[in-house]
Symmetry: C2
Subunit: 287 residues, 2 copies
Amino acid sequence: MLQTWKLILAYDGTGFRGWQVQPGERTVQGELQAALGRICGESPLPQGSGRTDAGVHALGQVASFALAAPIPLENLQRALNRTLPPAIRILEAKTVRSAFHARHSAVAKTYEYRLFRGAICPPFLAPYVCACSWPMDVNALQTSARLFVGRHDFLSFAATDPDLASRGLDEDAEPDQRPTPRLGFLTEPPVSASIRTVFSSAWEARPSPDGDLLVYRIRGSGFLHHMVRNLVGTMLDVGRGRLSADDIPGILAARSRAAAGPTAPARGLYLLSVEYDEAVGGQHLSA
Amino acid sequence: MLQTWKLILAYDGTGFRGWQVQPGERTVQGELQAALGRICGESPLPQGSGRTDAGVHALGQVASFALAAPIPLENLQRALNRTLPPAIRILEAKTVRSAFHARHSAVAKTYEYRLFRGAICPPFLAPYVCACSWPMDVNALQTSARLFVGRHDFLSFAATDPDLASRGLDEDAEPDQRPTPRLGFLTEPPVSASIRTVFSSAWEARPSPDGDLLVYRIRGSGFLHHMVRNLVGTMLDVGRGRLSADDIPGILAARSRAAAGPTAPARGLYLLSVEYDEAVGGQHLSA
């Protein structure tokens, strides 16, 4: 009798080629699968709430899988934390109803993007922030951030990498599993495929002993691939005066990646938390 | 006409084989020498206030070297920070009297050792702390730390690695330069070689958003190789009850590495600051 497990995990993305298993690469999903194999003798592929790219961090990624081995609750978390590299930590492990699926059951996700504001970025922060020392109009950043709240077509902020043809637009889709919306060069994707709802989107100053951070937090129903990094790259162009907040509605309407700003570096991005319906997996909002 | 420079630098030791240049290895001294060469066309070997081992970090390491190129003050710092990897940052660059030497002119140094106290060490902290989740008697730690203050023979806390035969006992000595005190298997080193003065030695709790740290800070006239890590390893044995604080005087008196506790991991150690006489290099105490 298979038992479905839900894990909440944090990882430092620096040393990994992202979440998703790739042949010959060190990935978070791969490390987790291997650790399960060593502990239980079964190696189900853990399903993540979504992929994170190389260098992207997680404070509250969620994974699910099913095991036949009858493992006591506390033991799996402890055994995984003993087996996994220190760059991956299991914050919570629990058994859930078999209907639970880390990706399909998710109802909302929150990401955070951290900017370091200062002349010299401390060496210890470098892999965990985007350092920008230039002058920044924080009011303009805040105004742009508010314009993303609501139901919008975010196609202008979706990655256009070649990989997409096989994978679809969605941050949350995985190849060979949900290849429905495709971004080709000849056919325009259906409008619905790139519409997402953003519940909140705002910047906040966060003083820290190592220097002041400026942190963007966005909570939404789902995200297109590279969407948060493209939103941030575009807002940074507004903050430094290359674009105006007034340009944002036009960029959204253009439905073209070329209309928006650059992709902000992966190292500043954190998957903060994933929310679920109480009915399937219990709600989780990481601190 | 050569001009002597003094740099204060911070580095994340994780990706380096320590401070000191070694053939085929990525070291902080080597990166700094290479960056100077690219900027000035001269590659003097920067002298550090002392070596730091692989994985040891620095918040206020000091280096000195002489350049013939007449470089404006602000320019060298900016050029080095543009050229060096983000894991090494120059916090200050200034010209000093030619008598200044980062190692020989130093009158005191301060090191810090960071312990993470909690069940699950955040993945982002793992390279920067020693995680110990077991129960710890903090009063016993504090009592032991006080016993190291003063002028003592610290031979029991000096590294006994084979490397020492060529280099001497001193943390601050470099091979081929000051090979005076040797640690051999047949001859005992002279008493004076392992005597150091510790000005202060104490633990403090440091709450952080990622979890509570317990931080040891020691300021002294100089340190033997591995001395801080061996002091910490021994105090941790006291904190967990394997040794008593009452054993410390006997361990000092034994003048034998075998009498003391294990060497604490490099990743928790930080060179905080180096002090100089005003007359030669100006005083620096990092925050």
